[in-house]
């Protein structure tokens, strides 16, 4: 669907000629998912329909205990220090942001009275200011009122580099000001299309000013409240043993009527994913288990008992293959894979095309990941509004052979293709992880049939994913021809995700290999597209640029999506919970309940 047609439809909805539902259906017909469609309407000034609440209980409490099983337990409970999802999920039992992301990638108000839009004056036309109206009458667990001062304080706390908050990136470049007791503004230095970062979702949880004010900056680690959270959330803190157990009791003054349903909550940690799945699906000892990185085959078997079910929540995490654009085997100025080099064989686009034809995503999904890894060629696939339809999966060994043959890569006596004395021999690295080794094997086998020799290398995860500048085997150094890992996308906005394709982000010795562009791809065209997304306030045009950027990278075989990595969790049969791939597992905990 062209941009102009889209705008026509939006206009009809605005004029009341087309219903929201009609619009969403029209969009679905052309392959734009419901969430994307509603986002388009929202940004075009048509109020977002709150997804109808499915919450049934008519009074607060009475639901007994809610037992959550996280096979890695939370180790700290200050949301500004919580880097891992386990810590954020644990903090989220007690703390809340202004707004949360729902499963469709839309905002749902928590401590905000409403979601800022252009219509309600929350978003300025120039994209420089967001005005948040806070919910009134909310109290912290200790009875003190929640006000604009708390919101401003969180900004001051997180942006101070001495505090060393993990959330600093969301706060350091904005200005936050109190307008009145229940209104704050967030001001940006330049027009910012993705404004819903500070105070929203995983990095937006708010801590109380009156308990943290004395512990800002260097003293941050000494705050007693770091270990005894006092928030506004549906449950109040009871006990915490790092790595083992977090417990809470119902907040009798929670700011939403009839919530929460459960009298208490406990989050148990430790053990492994398979037995966590068992404790929910087979014995029913627990109500919910998180992040089940378990083979789908095993999950399906456990599900057969009927005590619970597995849910797969789509997000943006992607397991993908990277093709080095630089030469990993030549050292220049003390670094391999230097920007000053070109890969000896992968620089031939025909070789890249052939490799793309040798990646059998479908088999990888069918034989390895199942429901937990739907095949995709895209690097950017979620939320659905960014999912490109232009990159079909093609696996064809004959065609790959053909392409290589035509490009002059001839098979030698050893069956390996070569040209001008350069052989098609590659080293392909990833971390040690069974599904990854199986994937490597599938790709190696196909490559062999096309006369490409692939040497497999697997590195211990703790080394591969480390930032140790002295170690040559880290994924950011990328001292091999091919590599594979999963990159996570924590927010429904692809801004950071797509830095992978920006020239200046190349990982090099100069930036201690902390750049986000691991393949070191240098493309003026990609840079231009990325710059467009940074300034474009119109979400429709912006999404189009992101899709183009994804297509450019995929069609030049810079990277290749292998499978999506959705969040997999297990719940007992009676538990009703909405899990969002764009926010913490516990982001909607206030609305969880069990069928009677």
């Amino acid at each position: 669907m062209k941009e102009r047609e889209l705008r026509g439809l939006v206009g009809k909805v605005k004029a009341g000629k087309l219903s929201r539902r009609g619009f969403v259906q029209a969009m679905m017909a052309v392959g734009i998912g419901a969430p994307a469609a509603s986002q388009i309407l929202l940004s075009s000034g048509v109020a977002m329909a709150q997804s109808p609440s499915t919450y049934k209980p008519t009074k607060r409490g009475g639901g007994g205990p809610l037992k959550l099983l996280w096979w890695q337990g939370p180790t700290l409970l200050n949301p500004h220090f919580a880097v891992g999802t386990k810590d954020q999920d644990g903090s989220r039992l007690f703390y809340e942001p202004l707004a949360a992301w729902d499963p469709d990638g839309n905002l749902k108000p928590k401590l905000a009275a409403e979601i800022p839009t252009k219509e309600n004056g929350g978003l300025s036309a120039d994209g420089l200011t967001v005005t948040w109206k806070l919910k009134q009458g909310v109290t912290w667990h200790d009875g003190k009122p929640f006000t604009a001062d708390d919101v401003v304080f969180n900004w001051e706390y997180a942006k101070d580099p001495a505090t060393a908050a993990y959330t600093i990136a969301s706060y350091q470049d904005v200005m936050v000001a109190k307008v009145d007791q229940y209104t704050v503004t967030v001001k940006f230095k330049k027009p910012t299309p993705f404004w819903a970062d500070a105070f929203v979702g995983t990095r937006g949880m708010l801590i109380p000013k009156h308990l943290f004010a004395d512990y800002i900056g260097a003293k941050s680690r000494d705050a007693p409240t770091n270990l005894k959270p006092v928030g506004t959330g549906p449950y109040m803190f009871k006990d915490f043993k790092p790595g083992d157990l977090v417990t809470g009791v119902m907040n009798p003054n929670y700011h939403q009527a009839n919530k929460p349903y459960f009298d208490s909550v406990e989050m148990k940690g430790g053990g492994d994913a398979v037995s966590a799945a068992r404790a929910v699906l087979q014995t029913g000892e627990f109500d919910f288990a998180w992040n089940l990185q378990v083979e789908d085959e095993i999950l399906s078997r456990l599900e057969k008992g009927g005590k619970g079910s597995v849910s797969v929540t789509p997000g943006g995490n992607i397991e993908f293959l990277l093709l080095n654009t630089t030469d990993p085997w030549t050292e220049v100025d003390g670094e391999r894979s230097s920007l000053k080099t070109k890969h000896p064989t992968l620089s031939d686009p025909e070789v890249r095309k052939a490799i793309a034809l040798l990646v059998d995503n479908k088999s990888i999904q069918d034989h390895i990941y199942g429901r937990t890894g739907p095949a995709t060629r895209n690097f950017l696939y979620g939320p659905p509004r960014f999912d490109s339809k232009n990159n079909p999966i093609e696996f064809n060994v004959d065609k790959a052979n053909d392409i290589l043959e035509k490009a002059g890569w001839k098979k030698g006596a050893d069956g390996i293709r070569a040209k001008d004395g350069k052989k098609l021999k590659f080293v392909y690295q990833t971390s040690i992880n069974q599904p990854r080794q199986k994937t490597q094997a599938i790709i190696k086998q196909a490559a062999q049939k096309a006369g490409i020799d692939i040497e497999l290398k697997s590195v211990t995860a703790s080394v591969f994913f480390s930032s140790d500048v002295a170690n040559p085997d880290t994924y950011t150094k990328f001292y091999t021809d091919l590599e594979m890992y999963t990159t996570t996308m924590g927010q429904p906005d692809p801004g950071t995700h797509m830095l992978q394709f920006v020239s200046t982000e190349a990982a090099t010795k100069a930036n201690k290999w902390q750049g986000r562009n691991i393949t070191r791809w240098q493309s003026p065209e990609a840079d231009k597209l990325y710059r467009e997304t940074e300034a474009e306030l119109d979400p429709v045009k912006r999404a189009a640029s992101f899709i183009k950027l994804n297509d450019l990278a995929i069609q030049n075989q810079i990277v290749m999506g292998i499978v999506q990595r959705p969040t997999v969790s297990a719940r007992t049969a009676k538990l009703n919970c909405n899990i969002s791939g764009w926010d913490n597992n516990t982001s909607d905990l206030s609305d969880w309940f069990k069928d009677a």
Binding site: A164, A218, K241, G270, S275
Partner: protein, 325 residues
């Protein structure tokens, strides 16, 4: 029976030797941990949302940028003042973390040690008094099976049978149980049965073999024959004369195993989610939380050294033939 006096000089000398050996152990542990790959703030480096400055600030805050010898020196000085360090990951004192885990560890691992001893001594003694009898053969077979099967296997089998098939016992250990009175104890016992059984049987199996061979050694000695020829009943010969002597090495062995009670059982704790020291150690290792790893391993090392001393002293006290010089 005359109690042999352990000379005070001997004990003092032993304690003085402990100090350099503990220092040596701490140097080795610290150096190993410093050399090991990984960094507690690694997770930050792979997280696009966290700017590198935050990581740098944290490293500076926790003194990770100092040279190794300086970090060791700070650690040692703090330790002498009773400060075990500060966890990078949980942002709390290492001693608090260890103390949180200690009661559960002592209860579960302690109970399994007691179970092991309670099984091993009677079975070992009985097997040795009737060598190569049917009972001995059966006991031997089970002992072999017992210590050949790894705990992760027996643990899983028990879970499959008692939790999943029969649905009798829970397999997730919970340190705080929301119950009072008898129910509280009953719940605790119920959840402890499987981990205690797995560990107790594993250690008991090895101990059975040890007790058996130790009793067999003694039972052939002349003084036992003398006792028998004096007309003392078989039962009395075994309990009074044989077991007493035969158990001397067993006591040493058990004393040396005591530090294990503290350091927990990593595998079993992991399977049953027992929040003990072992699971603290493994999760801290995985998170590169070096102060905690250092704390736990060093406490274990101290206990090993101390219990070695205790075993030495006990040995001399039980066996007057040993002389201390």
């Amino acid at each position: 029976m005359q109690v042999h006096r352990v000379s005070r000089q001997y004990v003092i000398r032993k304690i003085l030797i402990m100090i350099p050996s503990l220092l040596g152990i701490s140097v080795v542990l610290f150096a190993l941990l410093a050399l090991a790959p990984g960094d507690p703030f690694d997770e930050l480096a792979t997280n696009p949302a966290v700017p590198p400055e935050v990581r740098a600030a944290l490293r500076a805050k926790f003194g990770l940028d100092d040279p190794v010898w300086m970090r060791y020196w700070h650690w040692l000085i703090a330790l002498l003042q009773g400060d075990w360090g500060f966890s990078f990951v949980s942002r709390m004192d290492v001693s608090t973390l260890i103390m949180q885990r200690l009661p559960v560890t002592l209860i579960v691992i302690g109970a399994s040690q007691i179970l092991a001893i309670l099984i091993a001594i009677p079975v070992g003694v009985l097997a040795a008094t009737r060598p190569y009898s049917l009972f001995d053969q059966i006991a031997n077979t089970f002992a072999f099976i017992g210590f050949s099967l790894p705990t992760f296997f027996t643990g899983l089998v028990l879970i499959l049978v008692f939790s999943i098939q029969l649905d009798w016992l829970p397999f997730v250990y919970r340190a705080d149980i929301a119950a009072t009175g008898w129910e509280f104890y009953w719940e605790h016992i119920k959840q402890s049965i499987m981990p205690v059984a797995v560990l107790g049987l594993f250690q008991g199996a090895a101990l059975v073999r040890f007790v058996r061979s130790s009793v067999l050694d003694v039972i052939r000695l002349d003084y036992v024959t003398t006792a028998r020829s004096k007309g003392i009943g078989e039962r009395k010969v075994i309990t009074r004369h044989v077991v007493r002597t035969a158990l001397i090495p067993v006591v040493t062995l058990v004393a040396l195993q005591m530090p294990i009670v503290f350091s927990g059982a990593i595998v079993t704790e992991q399977i049953f989610r027992v929040p003990g020291i072992g699971s603290l150690l493994i999760s801290s290792m995985l998170a590169n939380d070096t102060p905690v790893v250092m704390g736990v391993t060093f406490v274990s090392a101290c206990l090993v050294v101390i219990f070695n001393l205790i075993a030495d002293i006990l040995y001399g006290w039980l066996d007057p033939r040993i002389a201390f010089r």
